[in-house]
Subunit: 207 residues, 2 copies
DNA sequence: TATTTTAGCTTACAGTTGTACGCTGAGATT
DNA sequence: AATCTCAGCGTACAACTGTAAGCTAAAATA
């Protein structure tokens, strides 16, 4: 196993994935990609594509998985920063997420677009990745605050929604406008934290 | 003016727009549309398309305007309901929005997708429509509560983001799951209201 | 009434797409 | 050493795309 042969196959498979990611941009979405162009950039004949993926959709789903992985790694990194540098949870998280958008903008774009895209399988795949993200945050909130599971989940869901959305807007702007955007999203997260906190307290009073 | 000629032209122009909207669906986005297919459904020759629009993008931008109009009409209707039926603001708004998603799902889909789509002009157009929506809500919040302008805007922005997002998710689900989704988004809006209220009070104390 | 304007048509073309089919040669297996 | 496997290639094709060019007939204008 893992002979020269299989190794080379993995290599061109990665070349295909990389080529596809490279061709994503502000004005080129996954559905705009053509099998032929991807194969061309990867340096293989169009028909050789099929040795690696059944069709473009299979490639795309692989890419979604990869982007989701990056996203989860990112979140762990954020938590590490919070634990070590001792910065504010909200601030650190938002800053880390914005770094993701700048450093891996094509991965983020893929998630962003395919979340409401044309293929049910894609939408489901992105939803799954986002849900992972939400659940990890919900667990964190549940352990760090005196939040019950339901409120923790809803709170996490809104936070992820708001940050994700701000990320989408951030893609198109720079400088001052961007700083203002970040400030706004931080306020939004504060609202959520306060508001959820209120209802949690009320709920525990009732209990 | 408004002779038989101009009248007929408007009619086929509308036929083109309608044909394009008809061809949108869960698995057919605007960028998947072809000029030829739209023309075919509208009942004209492909090349006659150019008598009405410079290219597909011009058609698309017109469609975005139309969808934005529908959206604003919807919001006014929601406010009327709130004033007359006297129901809860949050509940009525969410229910109204969900009706929009069911009754005009293709218009909603257009806004949803092109918001993060491939064309900067489209993204800007959708952002403009959404901003209208946010501003109207912000003014409402500012007048109905003791909220200052900044908090009103940020609050409105988060509410629209959360509802819009829930709408996107609602497109793919039905029944119980959907009811749960609606319940969650209502909680999220409550968080925002409470949280914003808290900071507003704090600000006015400081002042 | 004579002239101009124009929405819609037909024909035509060059470009791109996905993919079926069959071959080859280098690694893997026996 | 003989055989098998299979990643990658080249050719080929049918389906579709956007759009250029020029015609026609009916409405508008003068």
């Amino acid at each position: 196993m893992s002979g020269v042969r299989a190794q080379q196959k993995q290599k061109t498979r990665q070349a295909l994935i990389q080529a596809a990611f490279n061709q994503l941009s502000a004005d080129h979405s996954f559905s705009n990609l053509s099998l032929r162009e991807v194969a061309r950039e990867a340096g293989i004949a169009p028909t050789s594509f099929y040795r690696h993926f059944k069709d473009m959709d299979e490639l795309g789903l692989t890419m979604v998985d990869e982007a989701g992985l990056t996203l989860r790694q990112l979140m762990r990194q954020a938590r590490r920063r919070i634990a070590n540098d001792g910065g504010s949870v909200i601030n650190t998280s938002v800053v880390t997420f914005m770094e993701f958008i700048d450093n891996s903008s094509n991965q983020f774009r893929l998630l962003l677009r395919e979340r409401s895209g044309t293929s049910k399988a894609f939408r489901a795949a992105v939803a799954r990745e986002v849900k992972h993200f939400i659940l990890e945050l919900a667990h964190y909130l549940e352990s760090e605050t005196k939040c019950n599971a339901m409120h923790a989940y809803i709170q996490a869901e809104s936070m992820v929604t708001l940050v994700f959305n701000a990320g989408a807007e951030a893609l198109d702007i720079e400088g001052l406008q961007r700083d203002e955007l970040i400030e706004r999203v931080i306020w939004q997260l504060r609202y959520i934290t306060r508001g959820a906190g209120h209802y949690v307290r009320e709920t525990s009073k009732e209990a």
